[in-house]
């Protein structure tokens, strides 16, 4: 048996029971029909504008950036100098629990927090400022960013992170993580100096691109140097979709989905015979297991991308007067709420329980017995949420994500076609895609740790 467990989590989820699965699936269908009946007749999200509220102090930006750089340096130091026991070093928990699992949710509520603290972006902006103000010369990119590349440099990343998190045996080794952080930051600095700071951050900084998607859902944003409020979801209308952006979203959904599927019985029953084929070919059991998991991860990403593409092809087949690529980009924003829903459904209990472990870890980041903030002795309370409460939160995330996705697609269709028949026909296909994704998410929950 292939044991895939979050080495960091003390408590894992029970699969959602059949009755809840049934209710949730029915609720999804009912929500869909209500959506068609009750949604607005004029585009709302497309026309919504952010309202500037508060002036942000000029110094706040550099201050946050500096904090980000210090935090980054501290984490890398902890990774190298601290204990190599994954659960006693602050780095693995901070990275997987806070950054990877909780930050998407935080960005979706509060706006692009990551952008404010992004350490490599802070270094890039600082060096630009030095060139302009101190050296009195105009910072120029060495090359124009080749637009043909779109955001493909960033797309590789979800797959690599997925491999690191779910498959690699070293994915939680503090020193390995610290080395990878340095490598990633080095690539970002090189990219920014070659292609210009802002252009590279938009195209090649996978972390930045990833969190920016969630921030588009948020009711808060920054306009100029003012904090602004806006209609939730309306930020999705100003995402620029270039080559690879749609695939980036599908890859992110696919990685989370694979994490869920890998715990389930179906995947185990597929993986075991495949792995034994691998060992018959002369690979060691461990290697063939890893090869099979990597293939599974890629297959899941392709499945998600393929299913979305199928919906788009469906629209083309019902004589909607747009090319497939354009349709794919028009409706891609509706995948972003689904992406968030998958993250919450999958990592909710991980955040709720393992998030508590961050307090003692921050007090004793190296695992050497120090107690910086007096919280080193704090334990994890595994009892504050019952399984039933976790189930309801997971299902609620998926159903709400589904409703939000439909609303975004609906608004987009109205903006593009008005009330014409094309809008309704495109909507029917999007409905198929959304119901598919939501039910896949529910099914994954029903398979958890089975």
């Amino acid at each position: 048996m292939i044991v895939l467990a979050h080495g960091l989590s003390g408590r894992s989820d029970l699969p959602i029971p059949d009755w809840l699965f049934g209710w949730a699936a029915a609720l999804v269908l009912a929500v869909s029909f209500f959506a068609f009946a009750a949604l607005w007749q004029q585009p709302k999200l497309e026309t919504a504008r952010a309202t500037a509220r508060l002036r942000i102090p000029v110094l706040l930006g550099p201050l946050c950036g500096g904090t980000g750089v210090l935090l980054f340096a501290g984490l890398v130091y902890a990774g190298f100098a601290g204990t190599q026991v994954e659960s006693l070093n602050v780095l693995p928990s901070f990275l997987y629990v806070f950054v990877w699992s909780a930050l998407p949710l935080i960005c979706a509520l509060l706006g692009d927090v990551f952008r404010a603290f992004n350490p490599w972006a802070a270094v890039g902006r600082f060096s630009r400022w030095v060139q302009r103000r101190v050296l009195r010369r105009r910072p120029e990119a060495f090359f124009d960013y080749p637009e043909r590349l779109g955001c493909w440099p960033a797309v590789v990343f979800p797959l690599m992170f997925g491999y690191l998190e779910l498959i690699s045996p070293h994915g939680r080794d503090p020193s390995v993580l610290a080395a990878l952080m340095l490598a990633y930051a080095a690539v970002q600095l090189a990219g920014m100096s070659l292609f210009g700071v802002d252009r590279w951050l938009e195209r090649g900084d996978a972390f930045g691109v990833y969190f920016a998607f969630f921030a588009k859902l948020a009711p808060l944003t920054v306009v100029g140097c003012r904090l602004a409020t806006r209609l939730p979801l309306s930020g999705l209308t100003d995402v620029t979709w270039v080559h690879g952006t749609v695939f980036f979203v599908c890859a992110a959904i696919g990685v989370t989905a694979f994490d869920g599927a890998a715990e389930g019985g179906l995947w185990q029953s597929i993986a075991e015979p495949l792995a034994s084929v691998g060992s018959d070919l002369g690979m060691s059991v461990v290697t063939s297991g890893r090869v099979v998991e990597t293939l599974g991860l890629i297959a899941m990403v392709l499945l998600i991308a393929g299913f979305y593409r199928l919906g788009v092809e469906g629209m083309v087949s019902s004589h909607i007067d747009k090319p497939a690529r354009e349709l794919s980009r028009i409706f891609a924003p509706s995948l972003v709420p689904i992406m968030l829903a998958y993250v919450i459904a999958h990592y909710f209990s991980f955040i709720a329980f393992q998030g508590q472990a961050l307090w003692p870890l921050l007090s004793d980041p190296l695992g050497d017995g120090s107690d910086l903030f007096g919280t080193a002795g704090a334990g994890v309370d595994y009892g504050w949420l019952s399984s039933a409460e976790i189930w309801y939160a997971q299902v609620a995330a998926l159903v709400l994500g589904h409703a939000a996705g439909l609303a975004v697609a609906h608004d987009k269709a109205l903006a593009v076609w008005g009330k014409a028949g094309d809008a309704v026909r495109s909507q029917l296909w999007m409905l198929v895609v959304m119901v598919g994704f939501t039910n896949l998410g529910l099914w994954l929950l029903s398979q958890a740790n089975q």
């Binding site: 467990a5 894992s12 029970l14 009755w19 049934g22 009912a30 029909f33 068609f36």
Partner: protein
Amino acid sequence: MSTQTRIGMALAGIVILIAAAALINGIAGDDDQPQQGNGATAATAATGASGATEPTGQPKSRRVDPGPLLEPGSVTTVKADKGETVRFRVRSGEVDELHVHGYDRTVELPAGETVKVKFKATLDGVFEIELHHTGEQIGELRVTP
């Protein structure tokens, strides 16, 4: 979309919900009997996944089953309902320490001896049972609400 279509769609949504309620109640109704059975199988599992043949599986039977035996080399599932007493046995070839995650229970294991473990299942969820020194997972505790 015309108003009529909209009303139709809304009605379709309501019909789906009602149908689902009826269907799920039906399933739940079917489930009711096995559910007691379920409790019984879970209890049996708690008291003996290693093929114990206790027919009743009532928690308060006179002879208490010591539960499944956990050994290095395999991952054994220990099942229990919340509130029940979990019982299992552990044997390790070398001196080690047993650790039940979540419950944060540790038990000293002398080399080659079978040690009985029992505690009340107060938390639901899935928890790892591992040997501290080797770090090997030898069991999984599943507590259903």
